[in-house]
């Protein structure tokens, strides 16, 4: 029975096992109790952080491979298939290439900004992993304000873009950086408003609480099924999030026909690799948030009996959303700047403002209805 419960919930059980062993070990060594709490906290925290920091780059590498494969199939090509079976080792080859490429720093760059920009681009993305829930009870930190924290981390991307654009000493980078910043701030508003709808439905900003609220109908009570507000919010979220991370069809800052490579024109070697890493990890984070708040995250049938299923559900839904973004890339041409800005401010923002008020009124009527039912019964 014990082994069965371990198999059904491997990661949380392993965590608890290590936690209890460490605590009892320290107790037998005669460490004072307040130090035990601190040491256990630090060691367990470091273990969780290390696991996540190993999983994140692997995820990123295979999302790049997935993108190349899927887009190749859409364009009637095969995609990478030389390195390893089906090109499965291609990301590793890419990584070695990034490591051995020369890092060219052009003359006249602003040293501080040019060096720090890729680092600043990666930091908020990695921190976002802290509050994502990968399975039942499988989140590093359960913040009361988890979703707002994720939005705040997303908004920090603008600073990195500015630094790269300013620091590169290049007109293309400068224009690309300004455009990217304007685009990110324009689409951040609809994104935050779209996230607000599940928050209102669940009555909490904690990501875990929002997921738990979707447990109805055998784990299928997802917020996207709350017609009509759920689908509207999801649609707006998907578009705004795609624009927020500068993916096709909203990849104007990197429009190669006008701006060479946008704000990372002057980056090469591992520094470019870090921008690449940040972009794909952002894609994962954005899809993971979407899967968690609209599709129930780890919520699904039989997840209460076999918690390990939750991991499968979560990654299945997340990769489905990533696939939708790749589908965008394979089929939709790039927008013009004026179309992009108009779409954000004149379509998405008014729609979301209306949806928020509509949701509030609906919730109020629902509560009023329940109370009058109670009154009839009593």
């Amino acid at each position: 029975m014990d082994i069965l419960s371990f198999i059904f919930n491997p990661f949380v059980s392993a965590y608890n096992l290590v936690h209890d062993t460490l605590t009892s070990l320290l107790q037998s060594l005669g460490v004072p109790p307040d130090w035990i709490a601190i040491i256990v906290f630090l060691v367990m925290g470091l273990i969780v952080v290390t696991v996540i920091l190993i999983v994140a780059p692997v995820l990123m590498m295979y999302i790049t491979l997935m993108e190349r494969k899927v887009v190749a199939r859409m364009q009637d090509r095969i995609g990478p298939n030389r390195v390893g079976k089906f090109g499965l080792l291609q990301p590793i080859a890419d990584m070695i290439k990034f490591l051995t490429k020369e890092d060219i720093v052009p003359q006249g760059v602003d040293g501080v900004s040019h060096f720090l920009a890729p680092i600043v681009a990666v930091i908020p993305v990695v921190m976002s992993f802290a509050v994502i829930y990968f399975g039942v009870g499988m989140g590093a930190v359960d913040l009361n304000l988890g979703l707002l924290f994720l939005m705040a981390m997303g908004s920090m991307a603008t600073i990195a873009v500015f630094m790269a654009g300013f620091g590169s000493h290049n007109k293309f980078a400068l224009i690309g950086g300004m455009r990217a910043a304007a685009q990110i701030i324009s689409y951040e508003i609809p994104q935050i408003f779209a996230v607000l709808i599940p928050v209102m439905l669940a009555g909490s900003i904690s990501l875990n609480r929002v997921i738990e609220q979707q447990s109805g109908l055998f784990g299928l009570g997802w917020f996207i099924l709350y017609i009509p507000v759920g689908p509207i919010a999801f649609f707006v979220y998907l578009l705004a999030a795609t624009a927020e991370i500068n993916r096709v069809p909203f990849d104007l800052p990197e429009a190669e026909s006008e701006l060479v490579a946008g704000y990372h024109t002057e980056y090469s070697g591992m520094k470019f690799g870090l921008f690449y890493l940040a972009e794909f990890l952002n894609m994962f984070i954005v899809s993971a948030i979407g899967a968690s708040i609209f599709f129930g995250g780890w919520q699904g049938p039989f997840v209460q009996q076999i918690p390990a299923l939750g991991i499968l559900y979560f990654f299945g839904k997340t990769f489905l959303l990533i696939l939708i973004q790749l589908w965008f890339r394979g089929s939709i041409p790039r927008l013009r700047v004026d179309q992009l800005m108009n779409f954000g401010w004149k379509r998405l923002v008014p729609v979301m403002l209306g949806t928020i008020m509509f949701t509030a009124v609906l919730l109020w009527f629902y509560r009023w209805f329940l109370e009058s039912l109670k009154g009839l019964g009593g």
Partner: protein, 124 residues
């Protein structure tokens, strides 16, 4: 509550070392053969005139439109700050509170309508 944020702080340290590690690795492996041509600014084949740092030759005068969008963004970001606590308190709330937030959102919608009517949202 503070333990959770201590963990977030741990994540921040990890997040800072995470991009530094590959940079250091790459520093050990990569070739270092800079020359003048490699280090020149990318310019689509045109000869670049002034290579001095902070040279005005790379300067672009941006349109004020960028700033207009930034103002709109700031205003709506502030709105977000007030809407989130309201949304969390929604399940213990009377109809009056919804009307109050309706007024708040309506006033800011007026701002959007103003910008729209004055053609400030036009990029061209």
């Amino acid at each position: 509550m503070l333990e959770r944020y201590a963990l977030i702080g741990l994540f921040m340290f990890a997040a800072i070392t995470f991009p530094l590690a590959p940079l250091v690795l790459a520093f050990l492996f990569r070739p270092k053969k800079p020359n003048r041509l490699k280090q020149s600014t990318y310019e689509c084949g045109i000869e670049i005139q002034n290579q001095a740092p902070e040279a005005e030759s790379i300067w672009v005068q941006f349109r004020v439109q960028y700033y207009i969008y930034a103002i709109l963004f700031v205003v709506f970001d502030i709105e977000v700050v007030f809407v989130y606590p309201w949304a969390v308190a929604l399940n213990q709330m009377s109809a009056f509170w919804i009307i109050e937030m309706g007024i708040f959102i309506a006033v800011l919608a007026v701002a959007l309508v103003y910008a729209w009517r004055k053609n400030l949202l036009e990029w061209v």
